[in-house]
């Protein structure tokens, strides 16, 4: 096992790739950590699909307002300049290509950018999809934030997803705890490795042919 960076460090790494002026959806769960690392002196507007642009941080415990929540149904605040809207408009913002970036979790990402993140397909499991499929095909840049390996050591970046798909060829870039990879027409390109992680090691654990794009400028590949 090579160097792994923490979830917070990974969130900070993702935040560093989001330019000022972006409209961004951080989904639910771990990707919401990215908000903690967006620079306070830049205007980056957070979208939550239940109907708010300009979402702010969690309120103080005594200022929780049950009518003001995010997609994870957590209490949030609305910043100056915020706007509320109904669900059809909210998902039109995704589907219509208005959202610049979304950050999603993953069970698996394929080498072609297919995403599986809504169901393990386990028998007896109750399926729930929410806005995952809309986000996956909706934002201009779809970033995945995930561990490279499952707890049992299986790679989550795979030749082809075995879990039910959320979207086909929809992922732009995968941020893992070991490396950042871009989905390119020629396959997965390793953009950046953390610590002593090498492209050769990534290729070995994933069993995939990976392009080495370390040392090139992100804009050349993305």
């Amino acid at each position: 096992m090579t160097t792994r960076i923490s979830r917070d460090a990974l969130a900070a790494r993702i935040a560093a790739d989001i330019p000022e002026g972006s409209y961004v959806n951080l989904g639910i769960g771990a990707p919401t950590l990215v908000a903690n690392f967006l620079p306070a002196d830049q205007e980056i507007i957070l979208h939550t699909e239940n109907g708010l642009l300009g979402m702010g941080p969690a309120p103080a415990a005594d200022a929780v307002d049950p009518d003001l929540i995010n997609a994870g149904k957590q209490a949030v605040t609305a910043l100056e300049g915020a706007a509320y809207f109904h669900h059809a408009d909210s998902f039109g913002m995704m589907r219509g290509g208005h959202l610049d970036v979304c950050v999603l979790g993953a069970f698996q990402v394929s080498q072609h950018g297919d995403l599986a993140n809504w169901s393990t397909g386990a028998p007896g499991a109750i399926p729930a999809v929410g806005g995952a499929m809309d986000l996956a095909i909706g934002a201009r840049s779809v970033y995945v934030m995930t561990d490279l390996l499952t707890r049992t050591g299986e790679p989550k970046i795979v030749a082809a997803c075995t879990y039910p798909l959320t979207g086909v060829r929809c992922v732009t870039r995968v941020y893992t705890d070991h490396a950042v990879l871009d989905v390119t027409p020629d396959g997965l390109a390793v953009r950046e490795t953390f610590g002593d992680t090498t492209v050769a090691w990534l290729a070995e654990v994933t069993g995939l042919t990976l392009l080495d794009a370390t040392g090139t400028d992100a804009s050349e590949v993305a």
Partner: protein
């Protein structure tokens, strides 16, 4: 004179027939018309198809309707949550049918019904299990799946305030499905915190024009908000919020 107001929730839900398809607003508890659902439980309609984003939280509102065995089928996007134990039990026992729809397709299918659209091609869900068996089409190089409108007999919606013509304003993210659902039912029933005199709503701020609304009932300040019964959500530390009013701190909102 047009007066869509009704004096109580029982009259607001009167006439809802067995076997009806009912749109129920809300995202989790925000915007869920809990008082109208309570009235629907008392009214007794059964064999219902319920269209709502979630399938109930805790033991109140939609969860209570499910627990009473009144629901034949749920059409929703996100039934499974940490506090969806009522739906989970019924689903595993095979006592309720589920049609799972991606959230944006759910909203757009309802919108399409209200807007008189016959069907539409959506890019969401293409190539996934949720598009299986549906017609697909490539338009300008992009793949789409054909989605049909969801029309309903009744919509139950929660808004902040309304007037006797049925004009509505909402509050914060409790707006969610309300403006869309209000358009898509034969009979749209709205609960509001308060009914205000005609002319007192800013026409620029009206989110649902009264043409879409049939009945409006005032339920007063929603006491379950004051009681902090913010189920379906978690607090700022990520812990599930109190499931019952008795467990909640007083004055936890506003």
């Amino acid at each position: 004179m047009i007066d869509k107001t009704v004096p109580d929730t029982a009259r607001a839900v009167a006439g809802i027939a067995d076997g009806s398809t009912v749109l129920v607003g809300g995202f989790g508890r925000a915007g869920q018309p809990v008082e109208l659902i309570d009235a629907l439980i008392a009214q007794g309609a059964r064999d219902l198809t319920i269209v709502s984003n979630n399938a109930g939280n805790g033991d109140v509102g939609l969860a209570a309707l499910l627990a009473k065995g009144r629901v034949r089928k749920m059409i929703c996007s996100f039934p499974r949550q940490h506090d969806s134990w009522v739906f989970d039990r019924l689903y595993r026992a095979g006592e309720v049918e589920l049609e799972l729809v991606p959230q944006g397709n759910l909203a757009e299918r309802i919108r399409a019904a209200g807007a008189g659209i016959g069907a539409f091609y959506s890019p969401t869900g293409v190539g996934t299990q949720l598009a299986e068996g549906k017609e697909t089409r490539t338009i300008d190089g992009r793949d789409y799946v054909l989605e049909h409108p969801i029309r309903a007999d009744v919509a139950l919606v929660s808004a902040l305030a309304g007037d006797r013509w049925g004009n509505l304003v909402y509050r914060e993210t409790a707006r969610n499905f309300g403006p869309v659902m209000a358009t898509a039912a034969t009979t749209t029933v709205v609960q509001v915190d308060r009914i205000v005199p005609l002319g007192s709503l800013d026409p620029e701020a009206v989110a649902t024009p009264g043409i879409f609304v049939d009945r409006v009932v005032a339920v007063g300040e929603r006491r379950w908000l004051d009681a902090g019964a913010f189920v379906g959500g978690v607090d700022v530390d990520g812990n599930p919020l109190a499931a019952t009013a008795a467990d909640a701190p007083e004055g936890a909102h506003r």
